[in-house]
Subunit: 331 residues, 2 copies
DNA sequence: TTGTAGGCGTTATCAA
DNA sequence: TTGATAACGCCTACAA
């Protein structure tokens, strides 16, 4: 008695097609070193269609020692437009290859417990990850791809160079004549790691140009606080005339604060963001920003993963995500 | 010879603890009808910790006939803040209960193939789903929860009443003295279904108040186009003085367009959005909008799912997501 | 070219 | 209170 659950199994298909279950498996996975007669193949496929058979992912994973899951570990930061887009794009791309994306936040699950439990085909981390963790996963036959943010450049790593972001912001402000630079830091402490890197980039760029280091003020997503920061920059001596915002959200808040105290961009204070948020063109004035071109980066990541999983080991050269300046009116 | 893969199995734990593999299973799942002596339990747990054992999700799923995956089907619309938040919140909540969220877009995968393949513990759909599909899943022991958008009110369904959104927008405009209403439709055709419902709500509200039906214009995320629409509303006879925007994005575009042609909100044209986007307070002027309180709604959904999966069948009463008006300055 | 048989790691039934 | 043992559905040497 096999049939206790309502599930249609490969054995059912075999019975329906009048062949052995082995043959069904061969047909479905079209094994290269096996010749299947056309008649047999057709019979099997018909039976599959007729019964509506779907292979059990669990059984397959158990047998193969790896599932068709791809684990995405995200840093524990508030999801902005950037990470959202990453998840969406990646999910779409992977599912096109029969892979399923499972997303987790760093904090909740110890990385190791999860990959051991799930036996994913690949793990991707959106932050730099400890070398021995990577080694463990690789040893278990899992393909690891990480999107680091630091200066690390290694095989299997796609680097989104956070420091360069800060540098590009300062470059733009300097190019438009600003010599006293401010930096608008976000309120959320969880963004600390990213902030430090971007800020580093900005500091370096200032130093290289012989400018004073940027004047860092916190600009939370609150108009009053943003207004206070704006005034502080504006009334400093010498006055800060251009501000790098941590991201577009912060830039929006800053612009709103400036408006409240009668300061205009870019005249009184130029503002440049990061992310090229969907709403950036509609800011007042339209927001100049840095676009991280995530769609391009994610395409590469997805390709790395897919080619890794499907065996054809890609060149695996280190990749750096392209950053572009989007000039509008605020800086 | 068992050890071919590097995996630590329950058998390894048993050997280490000097008990049978069965006992390990009992301890780990603390089966209620089984008494385990404290000494045995301790030995097992120590062995688990020492070896770093993690149960195989695949084996478990195969044996149980259901995995710990929860399948989320999203409508094929551009992910706005709303859906993003939903995915994030739901994922966080579920992982707290050991469930893993897998997200798919409607278009790509036929619903049926996917749940048959994955044997998920639960399926959640962010749209109304065909009754026989639901029946099929329920028959397979899968818990189904859907977040419908229509007027359907059924057990296991959380309704986000899209029509009410339109109604509330008109209500607000009417309450502030507007009698000629406009409706700003988004450019993306994939939003059609949502649009129709929201627009219906707006139409109904107008009719009930004895107002003309809303003047519908398309406002894509493009300043020039938005400007043209704004002028058209403003110069109509009688002039449209208040506009319901499909969502906050559309509202931002509209406000930007108005600015370009010298129209001010709410004086020349009042604008009310939907979503309470993070950036809404920073619009010029700050955007009045409808908040769908997704966090609340998602909390309920997650609870429905978790309680369904863990067995304790919740009341399962139909739920309606709470909508609130957030008054700022644009309307 | 097709079929037989064994095992992947778990849970659950039954006997000890 | 504990331990053998049989599935769960699939893949894959190996035999026919």
């Amino acid at each position: 008695m096999a049939r206790r659950t309502g599930r249609v199994t490969a054995t059912d298909v075999a019975k329906e097609a009048g062949v052995s279950q082995t043959t069904v498996s061969y047909v479905l996975n079209d094994v290269s070193h096996q010749k299947i007669s056309d008649g047999t193949r057709r019979k099997v496929l018909e039976a599959v269609a007729k019964l509506g058979y779907e292979p059990s992912a669990a059984a397959r994973a158990l047998r193969l020692g790896r599932s068709d899951l791809v684990l995405l570990f995200l840093p524990d930061v508030p999801v902005g437009g950037t990470l959202t887009a990453l998840v969406e794009l990646l999910g779409d791309e992977l599912e096109r290859h029969g892979l399923n994306l499972v997303t987790r936040r760093e904090r909740h699950a110890p990385l190791k417990a999860l990959w051991r439990e799930l036996m994913p085909a690949a793990v991707m981390t959106a932050f730099d990850v400890a070398d021995d963790d990577v080694a463990g996963m690789r040893a278990a036959g899992i393909h690891v791809v990480s999107a680091g943010m630091g200066p690390v450049v290694a095989p299997g790593v796609l680097t989104v160079p956070q420091t360069v972001i800060g540098t590009m912001q300062v470059d733009r402000l300097a190019a438009t004549g600003h010599t006293r630079i401010g930096y608008a830091a976000p309120g959320d402490p969880r963004l600390r790691d990213f902030l430090d890197l971007r800020l580093d980039g900005a500091r370096t760029a200032c130093k290289e140009r012989g400018l004073e280091p940027p004047v860092v003020l916190e600009v939370p997503l609150d108009i009053s606080a943003a207004a206070a920061a704006a005034e502080q920059w504006h009334s400093a001596v010498p006055a800060v005339t251009g501000v790098c915002a941590y991201n577009d959200e912060t830039a929006f808040a800053l612009l709103a604060g400036m408006r409240r105290v009668g300061l205009a961009a870019p005249g009184d204070l130029a503002v440049i963001g990061v992310d090229n948020d969907k709403l950036a063109p509609f800011a007042v004035p339209p927001l100049t920003t840095i676009d991280n071109n995530l769609d391009v980066a994610v395409g590469r990541l997805a390709r790395m993963i897919v080619s890794g999983v499907t065996g054809q080991s890609q060149p695996q050269t280190p990749q750096v995500s392209p950053l572009t300046l989007v000039v509008r009116e605020s800086a």
